[in-house]
């Protein structure tokens, strides 16, 4: 570069607004006009009333989707049971693993198509579906594929057993990634699955069903049933399901925990959050600003572990807020398929309504609202990146999960105050800590009651890294050896001390 060449990185923010459209091509998609339920290896009609899945960015119809009623749930669970008894539980771990490796490769091969479909159906920016969601999906299958023939090392003792049929219900914020989190460990451990994707985002799960066919997976090992909440409720309550795995709201998580009371079912729940993102005055501020933005505006804030409460040390509050506003001004909101888009569409009109309502409450309760100056498209569901200053721990927007691009800013003076405020929530899914002082970070991380702590980073995910909450954010872990163990049971203990034969490990 010559000394006189213009430095693009020093260009004013307005230059960003001049970008030409750069939409990803939709030609890669080979969508059907309508999709059935995927049961026992085949697409079949559902008994419920079909519904339409739309693009939240344009409200245009994508495809018609079948709806599973209780009869269909029965059929899917029966198919999964047959496949479990006759095929999958008898197959060697090595062969199960090979099927999962095949799936991982097929996902990589169809990565672009899956990313476009995900952005179309969910509204998330293509750069996220392309660079985060889909690569992680492939990684998840690849990671758990290798576990399938190594279950003796999962930490449960020799020859742990699979559970049977897993009923899995997933949310709309990371449709295909949540599918991978559920399906990959379940199959590796030797279970078969019936999975229900979210009503508003069924598309990539149905493309995944095609991948299952391409992989030659035995019929019934993976069954995908689409529908609304009633379909999920029927699956969760089905008597022949051995394990429930749910990701979604804390309210539904409570219903599920109540529904399984008194049964033999095992449950893992990954529920809501209200994460604190703590910025100390000795933090690397440039990185922290990027981390705050990534923490709450990644995926339009539709993230259970989103850093929705910014706790900033009082002495740097003004600087952080000013730089945050400046950074948010450069974010590009619009077409999710545009490669330059930072903020996509809100997933549904219902969710948009919730975000608007909670934001109005935030204003009514006296917090100062600031929204990034950006033009919202006329069609579709949109909400500008928004921050609230002067929020207190008792504010509604500091307590309730908004699940949208809305950040509440609170302040603190001492580490003890930061810890107390961070933990002052019934949730406990995640938290962030920003400081250049390692010992302070570790001491604070020790005291935070949350399942995932990001230090000088935020919203990182990896199949090797366990993820899940404390308190009312649910229980159980997904990812890593811990996520595998959630689909296994160890050998039965034998007896207590002094009761004849000794308990395991007692000698």
């Amino acid at each position: 570069m010559s000394a006189t060449a213009p430095r693009k990185d020093l260009a004013p923010p307005s230059a960003f607004l001049g970008y030409d459209p750069a939409p990803e091509s939709r030609d890669v998609l080979r969508l059907r006009d309508s999709y059935g339920l995927f049961i026992d290896g085949e697409f079949v009609d559902g008994h419920g009333t079909p519904f339409t899945t739309i693009s939240p960015a344009s409200e245009e119809r994508i495809a018609q989707i079948a709806s599973a009623d209780e009869r269909d749930v029965d059929l899917a669970v029966a198919a999964a049971r047959r496949a479990y008894e006759r095929v999958w539980s008898k197959m060697s771990g090595g062969d199960r693993g090979k099927y999962l490796f095949r799936i991982a490769r097929l996902i990589q091969e169809r990565a672009r198509e899956l990313a476009v479909a995900e952005s179309l159906d969910n509204g998330k920016p293509i750069k996220e579906s392309r660079d985060v969601d889909v690569p992680l999906v492939a990684a998840w299958f690849f990671y758990y594929a290798g576990w399938a023939d190594k279950l003796d090392y999962a930490g449960l003792g020799a020859s742990p057993r699979s559970l049977g049929v897993a009923g899995q219900v997933i949310p709309w914020n990371f449709p295909l990634l949540m599918l991978a989190w559920k399906v990959a460990p379940a199959l590796a451990a030797g279970n078969t699955v019936v999975l229900k994707p979210a009503e508003t985002t069924p598309l990539t799960a149905l493309l995944f069903a095609e991948i299952v066919q391409q992989a030659g997976l035995p019929a019934g090992v993976v069954n995908i049933i689409t529908g609304a909440g009633a379909t999920g409720a029927a699956l969760v309550r089905h008597e022949d399901v051995d394990k429930i795995a749910f990701t979604g709201s804390t309210a539904v998580g409570r219903d599920i925990a109540r529904a399984v009371a008194g049964t033999r079912k095992r449950v893992t729940l990954e529920l809501g959050g209200k994460a604190a993102n703590i910025v100390f005055d000795d933090a690397p501020i440039d990185q922290a600003i990027e981390g705050i933005v990534n923490g709450i505006f990644f995926n339009q804030g539709h993230v259970c572990c989103a850093g929705s409460r910014l706790l900033v040390q009082e002495s740097v509050h003004d600087e952080v807020v000013e730089r945050l506003k400046s950074r948010l001004t450069t974010l590009r909101l619009g077409d999710p398929l545009d490669k330059n888009t930072d903020i996509g569409a809100i997933n549904s009109s219902e969710q948009l309504e919730r975000i608007r309502r909670l934001s109005e409450i935030g204003e009514q309760e006296g917090a100062q609202r600031w929204s990034a100056p950006c033009e919202l498209p006329a069609q579709g569901f949109w909400f500008a990146p928004t921050i609230f200053m002067g929020v207190t721990t008792s504010s509604t927007i500091a307590r309730e999960e908004i699940f949208g691009p809305v950040l509440s800013v609170l302040t603190f003076r001492t580490p003890a105050e930061a810890i107390a405020k961070a933990n002052n929530t019934p949730y406990g899914l995640s938290a962030g800590v920003w400081s250049d002082k390692g010992s302070k970070i570790l001491a604070v991380a020790d005291k935070l009651r949350a399942g995932v702590i990001w230090a000088n980073t935020f919203n990182r995910f990896d199949p090797a890294s366990p993820f899940g909450g404390y308190k009312e954010s649910g229980y159980g872990r997904e990812g890593g050896r811990h996520g595998l163990a959630a689909y296994l049971r160890g050998p039965e203990p034998i007896a207590a001390l002094g009761r004849g034969k000794q308990g395991r490990g007692a000698k």
Partner: protein, 287 residues
């Protein structure tokens, strides 16, 4: 020349003290053959709530003690119990209606159970945690931490279990740094209160274990619905409406271990059941 014995008043154990039930209630404890042994305190909802407050107050201190320290404190329980074996054996023989030899075996098993779990305090994190090879420049470590305050319904009227059942239920919960509110064996509560006396003299901070005697069917619902209880061990709740307890616990998303017959076997699983895995990511950089 015979001497007139001095019988003990059996009370509750809450926050390191031995109060009577605030309700003023007590109930008669008899031997297996129906002979009067003592009056035990009949704990109320208010006693239970006091116990939860004590357990919450003690939790961060107990969890914050070093693993080595927690291990030594739990081992000390075994030491003190060993020295009082004869008293426990006599109490068990009387209330369970078993031979002195059988009672001595139960006490020995209870002591050995404390020793087994004490040794886990500075090891279970290594066994249950993990260093995670994530695809990026991050240090990434998962460690189990205590869940918080755990409510326990101890095994009820299990043969040979009035002491051993209680110990096998609460010792694993304590290992990681949880604190406990336990509803003791209702019909045979004496060794539970005597164990509380051992705990009170074993360097275990007050409030770490709180022992209630009374009616599980009356107390457990308040434990299940209490918003400041993080988890429930219903091991001894098989004889009461435990399904309602599990359903009630769902309101606050408590972790629940369902009832099981008999006395729980030694197991790392019972330690891990009352832990939460925390995963910490930290950037790596030379800059």
């Amino acid at each position: 020349m015979s001497r007139l014995a001095v019988p003990k008043t059996y009370k509750l154990y809450i926050g390191g003290a031995f109060p009577r039930s605030e309700s003023g209630r007590s109930y008669e404890v008899t031997s297996a053959k129906g002979r009067f042994l003592a009056n035990a305190a009949w704990a109320s909802r208010k006693d239970l709530r006091d116990a939860v407050v004590a357990a919450r107050g003690a939790q961060s201190g107990w969890a914050g003690a070093t693993a080595y320290n927690r291990g030594q404190v739990l081992y000390r329980v075994a030491e003190v119990l060993e020295g009082r074996s004869a008293q426990f054996a006599a109490e068990i023989a009387a209330s369970e209606g078993v031979s002195l030899q059988a009672a001595e075996r139960e006490v020995a098993a209870a002591i050995d159970t404390w020793v087994w779990y004490a040794g886990w305090a500075d090891k279970f994190v290594q066994v249950a945690g993990s260093g995670n090879p994530v695809a990026g420049p991050y240090f990434n470590l998962s460690v189990p931490e205590p869940t918080g305050v755990v409510g326990v319904v101890a095994p009820q009227e299990e043969p040979g279990g009035s002491l051993l059942g209680l110990v096998a239920a609460i010792a694993p919960v304590l290992v990681s740094g949880n604190t406990v509110v336990v509803v003791a064996d209702s019909a045979r509560p004496l060794s539970a209160i005597s164990l509380a006396e051992v705990l009170a003299t074993s360097d275990l901070p007050g409030g770490v274990v709180n022992v209630l005697t009374g009616r599980p069917a009356e107390l457990a619902p308040w434990l299940a619905s209490h918003a400041d209880v993080n988890a429930l061990d219903l091991v001894g709740a098989g004889g009461i409406d435990w399904v309602a307890l599990e359903a009630s616990a769902a309101d606050t998303l408590k972790r629940v271990l369902r009832p099981e017959p008999g006395i729980p076997a030694l197991g790392l699983e019972r330690i891990i059941a009352f832990t939460e895995t925390k995963t910490v990511w930290h950037t790596k950089s030379l800059a």
